[in-house]
Each structure stands twice: as C-alpha cells, then as structure tokens.
C-alpha cells in the first residue's frame, strides 16, 4: 500500500536559484526561436557539462556523448520555436532533447557494435543518493522496493530497453514490463 499521496514540502534553499535558471533558459529558448545564436551559446555555456554527463550515462564514451550533445544543439536550434513555456519547463525540454539524441545513438551503436561491458559499473543507489533529500522524486522512489525501482533508474538514466533490463535483472521480459508499469504508477500516485 504505497498509494496514499503525500504533499511534499518543496521549499528548498536552492528553489530561488532554480527559478532564476529556469527563467534564463526559457528566455534563451525564445531568443533562439527568433534566430539569436548568442542565446544558443548561453544555453551551451550554462548546460553543456551537465548534458555531457547525462549523455555519457547512456553512451559511456566521451566521444559519443559529445556527438549526442552536438546533435541535441542542432535540434534545440531548429526546434526552439516548438518549446511552449506554458506546458513544461525549459530545463525539462532541453534535457529531453539530449536524452533522445543519446538514446538514438545508443540504439544504433548497439546494433553495429555489440561489445559493451561498461554497463556492469552502474550503481542505481549512488544515483538515488545524489538527489537532494528534499526531492519528491527521491522520496517517492524510496517507497518502491528494490529491484522494482531500479528499472526506473536504469531505463531513464542509462537508457536501457525492456530487453536490456530483463537481461541485467535476470527476470523475464513480462516481469520487467509489469515492474515498469507498477513503479511508474506508484510514482504518479505519490507525486501527484
């Protein structure tokens, strides 16, 4: 019974900082849509290192991570006009672009180059503890028992497919799919 949603206090110290950063990114995207390349560089200067980190957790190789970020900036530049600040945050939009590019490369690389042991070093718990203790996502994930919650981290953070999850966790594909569904449902209930 993890269903009862709780109102989590999100008044973090860094909340103000987050708002400022979000406003900057959102404005920069609007300027990109108008063709202002300085705004694209501003986004790059502020976010590129973190984006490389996000891409590298999926691709493991620095060169591929840079390829993903390169492609992501092309996409950001071309599609900036489709970002709608009323619908979601600029941060969420930008990082979704990066993850999508990294996932595409990941899938293609896997098809042409099957050798990869780097996935063995993945540590889901370390990722959990890197989230601030005030994070609603962290609190809600902690309510889900392992290894069920690992599927969320492995898929979202490391780009694993259902098949890869089943292989790593050594459970049937159907079990993985049901863990994904139940974990996401539980997150939705908990976070609202």
């Amino acid at each position: 019974m993890t269903g009862n949603g709780t109102i989590t206090e999100t008044q973090r110290d860094e909340a103000g900082l987050d708002y400022a950063r979000e406003a900057q990114l959102s404005t920069a995207l609007a300027r990109c849509a108008a063709g202002d390349r300085a705004a694209l560089q501003m986004i790059y200067d502020s976010e590129a290192p973190k984006m490389i980190g996000v891409a590298r957790r999926i691709l493991f190789r620095q060169d591929l991570a840079e390829e993903a970020v390169h492609d992501a900036y092309l996409r950001i530049w071309r599609a900036a006009a489709s970002f709608d600040p009323h619908r979601g945050s600029a941060r969420g939009w930008l990082y979704a672009v990066v993850r999508n590019r990294a996932l595409s490369i990941h899938r293609n690389e896997h098809r042409y180059d099957a050798s990869d042991d780097s996935a063995l070093d993945i540590d889901c718990e370390a990722t959990m503890t890197r989230m601030p203790e005030t994070s609603a996502l962290r609190k809600c994930l902690e309510r889900i028992d392992r290894p069920r919650r690992d599927v969320v981290v492995l898929a979202y953070v490391h780009g694993m497919s259902h098949g890869e999850l089943a292989g790593r966790l050594k459970v049937p594909l159907g079990t993985v799919k049901s863990w994904v569904r139940r974990s996401l449902f539980s997150l939705q209930e908990c976070m609202g």
Binding site: A48, H70, L74, A79, Y112, A155, H162, Q188
Partner: protein, 254 residues
C-alpha cells in the same frame, strides 16, 4: 479516481514510456508525431518530464572538449525556416499515403491492369516470337537479391529491396510510413561493419525509390538494408541517428 477511464490511462502510460525512453521504432515515431498533434499527450509528456527531471540533475558535470562548441556553431550557421503548424497539417493532408480512396482505386485498377496484361500476354505468346523473346528478357529482369525490411518490435513488413543483375536497386514500400513534420526517411545499407552504414537515399515520404548504390560494391548475401527516421535533410552525422523503422538482410532469390 472515477474519472480515470481507460483512454486517459493508456495516453498517460504511453507518455510515461516515451519520457522513460522505452519506446522504439514505429511506436517511438508515432509518439513523436503525436507530440505536435495531440495537446493532451504533449501535456502528459511534460508532466512526466517534470516528475523525472531530478534524475537528470544527478548527472556529473563533465567538461566538453573545446572543439565541441565550434562544431555546433558551424552546424547552426543557417536558421532553417519552420513551417507553421497549419502549413504542416496541409502538407500532410496532401500526401496520397493517407488517402484510402486513392489506394482502393489504385488497387482495383491494378487488378484490372494485371488481368488485361495476362490476356494480352497469352495472346502474344501464341502469335509472336518477338514478344516471346521479350518475355524471356523480362524473366531475366527478376531480382538477384531481395531484402524484406521488417520492424523489430511489431514484426510488420515495411518495404522490400530488390537488386538486379544490371546493377539496379529498387526499394518498394509496402505500407505507409508516418513521417512527422521536420523529419525525413533515410535508407541505409551495411555491407561491411568496418566501413559502417552508408546512406543510399533520403526521402520525405514512403514511395518506390531507385537507390543509388553505384558508389558501393555489389550487393552481397546478408547485406543489411534499413530505413531510419532522421532530421530533415538526412542524418547530420552521416550515420543513422534516428529510430530504425524497418530493416532486413539481402537473400539470394531462387
């Protein structure tokens, strides 16, 4: 919970899987297309992005190589025009692929044409040696290699590739492929893993294509052909970046 009907539930599940990165192939392409068409879906996607965003923040900040920005700056010199949503819808509406009436007509017409051809050919066989020779020539035009391109997830057959003794290669689509605005279909072949995949065609819609294989060696058994969804104008890196819609290996025709 009483308002939680099946329909909203599946939209939300799909949005969650999309944000999680668990969709592939045509499912992924369909979800990306839906982002620009279905406001409810786009909203559900945004909600999931916000829910999971704290996981992005756990990534280590890693310095990119100094050359990366120069490459990006170089690639973004030109701002491509973005068609208005209305113009995009109009463009999509104009493609015959969505027009069932057209295809019904074409199908019925095709059957009649084939019947007529059979009648003519039988007559010609009986009367003309000249035509008989031409029929033999026609038979020699059957493909040497055939590749059937299938979607990995849905097992649907999307297209076939035929290669002929005179070096011609053609791709024949077998089902409509939904190409989202701003994207393009790109056809690749891989005959040597050391060289990597090579682009052989870029097209904005699924139609029969004469492929350009002149720069490549002759088709070999098991040579891989695939169709991916790429940014407009084709993959920016000369390698497949988008989801693989259909793929298959060449087999020798008997």
């Amino acid at each position: 919970m009483s308002m939680h009907d099946d329909n909203t539930h599946s939209t939300d599940d799909l949005a969650a899987d999309y944000v999680m990165g668990l969709l592939e192939g045509t499912e992924l392409a369909a979800a990306e297309a839906r982002m620009s068409e279905d406001a409810d879906f786009a909203r559900a996607v945004s909600t999931w992005r916000e829910r999971l965003a704290d996981l992005d923040a756990t990534a280590e900040a890693l310095a990119p190589s100094p050359a990366l920005w120069d490459r990006i700056a170089d690639s973004t010199k030109v701002k491509p025009a973005i068609p208005l949503p209305g113009a995009r819808a109009a463009l999509r509406g104009a493609t015959l692929w969505d027009n069932i009436g057209f295809w019904r007509g074409t199908g019925i017409g095709g059957v009649f044409a084939a019947l007529m051809l059979v009648v003519i050919l039988i007559g010609a066989l009986a009367t003309s040696r000249q035509l008989r020779r031409e029929l033999i020539a026609l038979a020699q035009r059957k493909p040497i290699y055939v590749a059937v391109l299938v979607n990995d997830a849905t097992k649907e057959t999307g297209a076939i590739v035929n290669t002929f003794s005179d070096g011609r290669v053609e791709l024949i689509p077998l089902r409509p492929i939904d190409v989202p605005a701003g994207r393009t279909l790109q056809v690749w072949t891989l005959w040597d893993r050391d060289v990597g995949p090579k682009s052989i065609a870029v097209t904005s819609q699924s139609r029969t294509l004469q492929l350009d294989l002149e720069a490549l060696p002759e088709t070999v058994p098991d040579q891989l052909f695939e169709i991916t969804l790429e940014p407009e104008g084709g993959s920016p890196i000369g390698q497949p970046t988008g989801p693989i819609l259909f793929k298959g290996n060449a087999a020798r025709a008997l």
